[in-house]
Subunit: 317 residues, 2 copies
Amino acid sequence: MALTTLTLVPRACYCLPPSRFGGRRRRTRQVIKAELPSAEMGSGRPASKLMEFPHLTAAHRDLMVDLIQAVDDGVGEHLLPSTVPSDVEYYQNQTGTSQGTLLIRSAIPPSPIDFVIASWLHLKQPHGGAFNITNIASYLKTTNDIPHFQFELVQCSPTFLIFFLDLIPRVDIILRPDYLTTFYEETELEKYRRRLDAVPEVSPYFSSSLFFRKVVSSTGILVSMKCEESESGRVEEIIREEIGPISKEVLRIWMELCSNGGREIEDGNERSLLEKRDLMIKKKAIEMDLSKTMPLQFGEEVAERVLRVIRSSFKTI
Amino acid sequence: MALTTLTLVPRACYCLPPSRFGGRRRRTRQVIKAELPSAEMGSGRPASKLMEFPHLTAAHRDLMVDLIQAVDDGVGEHLLPSTVPSDVEYYQNQTGTSQGTLLIRSAIPPSPIDFVIASWLHLKQPHGGAFNITNIASYLKTTNDIPHFQFELVQCSPTFLIFFLDLIPRVDIILRPDYLTTFYEETELEKYRRRLDAVPEVSPYFSSSLFFRKVVSSTGILVSMKCEESESGRVEEIIREEIGPISKEVLRIWMELCSNGGREIEDGNERSLLEKRDLMIKKKAIEMDLSKTMPLQFGEEVAERVLRVIRSSFKTI
């Protein structure tokens, strides 16, 4: 999560946390919504509000619901229910103009997945309008080297989006070209990057973090989309016709890798290197973005509450 | 060198090799040209032909001469004369439609530099026109971790260029954010990438090699430039006003790092890792591009002759 946020979103705001995952497999979108008990969602917010992504456009909301459903269908059996406290699952600033949600589902011991984290954030901007940031990410256990999954879609205005979709490599590719072959060439991820690159409104996006640029894979999609002011419908179209199908395909590929279980890392040195890299990526995500911008956006108390939960899941404390 | 070539240039052609470096410091462009003894250049080619870059446009040629002069002024005292045999210093295919030059100057033992390699290539294309590829690169010794230097400018047509300029990191940045700080943040390299990115005709360029994409640094410049067919003068203007000054600045920064000598790597493990990474980058450069495309462009015999010299300098044999 944070990974991008800290990196994608202009300094004034910050990003993070999640949406609501369903529980059982093969449920329809309607069923998921109907099942959410409002008591469980906390903060006195009606449960449907969170799952409905109240501030998103229809295309963006539908995509989020579809992706969350797809995770549940694909690897739901790996995941335990979220244990995020209700006052972190939904939180807001004092005036209620900035709101955030966070959901973290740990995986069961035999799964290669460590946990899945999802969020949406609505951040009112000082000069009008709001940023809507949605994120789904999964970090893997250090017993395997399957890439981490990252999806983040940021609507900065009705006509401007930033989008990040990637399987994040967990080894130094220069020393491991076999890793590139297995996870990036054989999966043909490049074709999805190219497909989006061919959309006229899409441009490569350079994160302000030089560290983050090195985290992204060779086939990572990191783009901005700018449409004419009069054409907010075109943004919706791009989400429905390009970002949506591409995100679902990349998620499907990643879930397939997870279902295959990955290669067991038995060598102690290899595992400790992987642990170090994973930890560095997570630490940088928190340090560079969240720990600075969260207090500014939500106040010290709320920020500390949310960050404690994130740090604990990230095992950076 | 090859690094990019193999990666930048459409499969039909290939890249490599060099131009002519001067010998002493502070010489004017004219002096360099005048000093080149034709016997030394071999292949019966008049020496001036090589140093004049006969197939380049004026702006491109002037830039190459300036860069070579700058290398000579800045680190010329580190470098020994080239020992490349004359039939590799200049070579061509049977019909003479494709021509190449190669120059390699090893550095003296106390220098952090291992060697400097430079080249130009003129590759006639089957459907008319020619590609002109110019390259200056330097690889460092494994006693230090100063980034390698890479400059490559490819003129694919009078109105289409590909440009690569980078200080190539020699460690896994994820595990070494201090390396990012020292060589990329404190040197403010990002501002040069941004400056070129702001030129309307310039777009980010994605190499076809997923491996190569991971070799490039966070601030690496890898772009294409497309001008209107009627505006070949604009290409010249971009070379003179943007590519030229940016290349000279990045080269100056790199030479300053070399003049400071870098950090001595004493730890055996760190050094052996650096050696492995360096070797992998060089091997991939040869394997992915040169060893396949050289024979197609220049015939088996010439290719073998040139590749032997490159492999020997790269220490990949």
